[in-house]
Amino acid sequence: MNMKMNFIVKRVLSVIPVLFGISIITFSIAFLAPGDPAEMTLDQNGIYFPTQEQIEQMRVTMGVNASWHSQYFSWIKKALYGDLGHSYHNKNSVLSELRMRVPVTLQLAVPALLLTGLGGIILGTLCALDPKTLPIRILSHLFDIFLATPRFLLALLLIFVMGEILRLLPTSGVTDYKGYLLPTMALSITTIAVVGRLVKNKLAEEIRKPYCFIALAHGIQHRQIVFLYALPNIILPIIAILGNFFGEILGGSIIIENIFALPGLGSMAIEAIRFRDYPLLQGYVLFTGCTYVLISLVLDLLLYLLNPKIRFEEY
């Protein structure tokens, strides 16, 4: 029991330096980037041009004239109190901007993750069940092909076929759940292929292990061995890997949101880059980074608690 607590505490504490490091990198990206945010703010559509004094003054009001460390510390101090600053270009607070964007991305990412997990595991298991039949062989070739397809190509083809030619699904917009179907598909098809192939390979590896082999010799059917023996044994590592995919999906959503015009985190990032909106970008990187780190923390702990092997070793 003591060891268990020990592990949990250690794992939780290990997150702190990582988060700290992420915050430094996040901050530095913006600090090192060329271009002057003060100038950008004042410069509008080429109609009005600020004087040097105005720019200087703007720098002071925006707090971008101080040195790296003082800027960082004031930023992190505020961030700890939940204040991530205000966007330069639309003046909203970054937190409210995040609050607005996160649900959109989550509605995209969570179903995509579920689809990735379930679809990948189911299809991968199918592949392992009966690797020789024609549909399964086609499926496993499809995995290879989807694995090689750039996501935006897939998204474009989906829009073209499903939206424009067949007119089955809306290609944009957030008015109802239907609007999320195509983007979710575009986002998850490639990851399904990755997980599917991973499951397939892992299962094949697992089935070659002695206990599965012995079970086979004991007369237990292949199907049962896959479902009752191999699958439960690989499911935990697969779930751990699925945690990584949340990061992948968050990243992939940049392109998907861009293509499907969804006002989520990804399009916020692109906007932030376009307008040199450092606070917004910092908010984005910090948010995705923290989410990712925390999710892998939760998954780690979950796996730790779920795995009977680890659980019983402490008795």
Binding site: Y211, P232, P308
Partner: protein, 314 residues
């Protein structure tokens, strides 16, 4: 052996197995002809890599798909090698019980013992086992606290316990044949005694037909009626006892190498697999003549139960 009988004997007919997966295709078994008779305990002995495990895999139809196989193995009107595995499994696997080599890897790590018993039972269309049934068979193998054991995961039990559980699993459906793959490997003397005791117990109480793969010559002496001596993928000798009746120079060398006989090593030299131009044991053989180096001996019958692959007995 051309006349095929529908019996519960295992008839191995001109079996050749090769694995193409390394640099060149390696003949693991070449031209194996042997009959394992029902009701008799047989042992297959030989040094590591001589192909004894592969032989057992072949008997069970479990050779990997990439192996290239020639010949036949007849059992109960089936040719084990040519029938799809699923059919063998559904028809024959309840006739067989297998005791694997290393007990710690041989059980599903995240499934309770009881459930693993039930899996076997269901597939032998026997249904779930009652705890009493399992209690009986496990207690007879020298285990106690059966209820706790049945509700445990494999990693909570010791190696010895696991091996006994595997013994019980092998015979829980009352098979006609039991295959034991090196059951005494790496055990201390006391455990070895226990295993040997259990095997004897199996043999006398439940299943007479048994194929035992082992290095352990005394064990074969205790349990088996027939001993098959293999060397480099070939059968060198089939005899009823290696101690009293071992004729082949290799068999003799094996006995001479036993600790009680003074640890005399077999002379050094390359182990040749697959080249048929000479006797494969010739490079190590104290009795090797010119003939041994230039032609390959057949398996000569000494008497009904006894065959030797050596020119000395031609």
């Amino acid at each position: 052996m051309k006349d095929i009988q529908i019996t519960s004997d295992f008839c191995v007919d001109h079996l050749c197995v090769a694995f193409p997966n390394s640099m060149k295709s390696a003949n693991v078994l070449s031209d194996i002809n042997v009959v394992f008779r029902h009701g008799i305990a047989a042992a297959v002995i030989g040094e590591s890599g001589c192909g004894k495990s592969v032989l057992v895999l072949a008997l069970l139809g479990l050779l990997p798909k990439y192996a290239s196989v020639h010949g036949h193995i007849f059992y109960n009107s089936f040719d084990v090698l040519s029938v799809p595995f699923a059919i063998i499994q559904s028809n024959l696997s309840k006739h067989w019980g297998i005791i694997p080599q290393s007990p710690s890897d041989a059980l599903n790590p995240i499934r309770k013992i009881k459930k693993q018993f039930d899996d076997i039972g269901k597939n032998a269309s026997r249904g779930n086992f009652s705890v009493e049934e399992l209690c009986d068979s496990l207690t007879s193998l020298g285990l106690s606290d059966i209820e706790r054991i049945l509700q445990s995961y494999p990693h909570e039990l010791s190696g010895g316990m696991l091996q006994r559980i595997l013994f019980a699993m092998a015979v829980c459906c009352e098979p006609e044949w039991v295959f034991a793959d090196e059951p005494t490997k790496g055990l201390d003397e006391q455990s070895r005694q226990q295993v040997s005791h259990n095997l004897l117990h199996l043999k006398t109480k439940k299943t007479q037909s048994m194929i035992l793969i082992t290095h352990d010559l005394p064990l074969t002496e205790e349990i088996c009626e027939v001993v098959v001596v293999m060397y480099a993928g070939e059968i060198m000798e089939i005899t009823n006892s290696v101690y009293t009746n071992g004729l082949h120079p290799y068999t003799r060398a094996l006995i001479a190498a036993l600790p009680i006989n003074g640890f005399n090593p077999i002379p050094d030299g390359p182990v040749k697999n697959g080249s048929s131009r000479q006797c494969r044991f010739a490079p190590h053989c104290a009795y090797a003549s010119k003939q041994c180096k230039h032609s390959h001996p057949n398996l000569y019958s000494v008497d009904d139960m006894h065959k030797v692959r050596c020119f000395l007995y031609a």
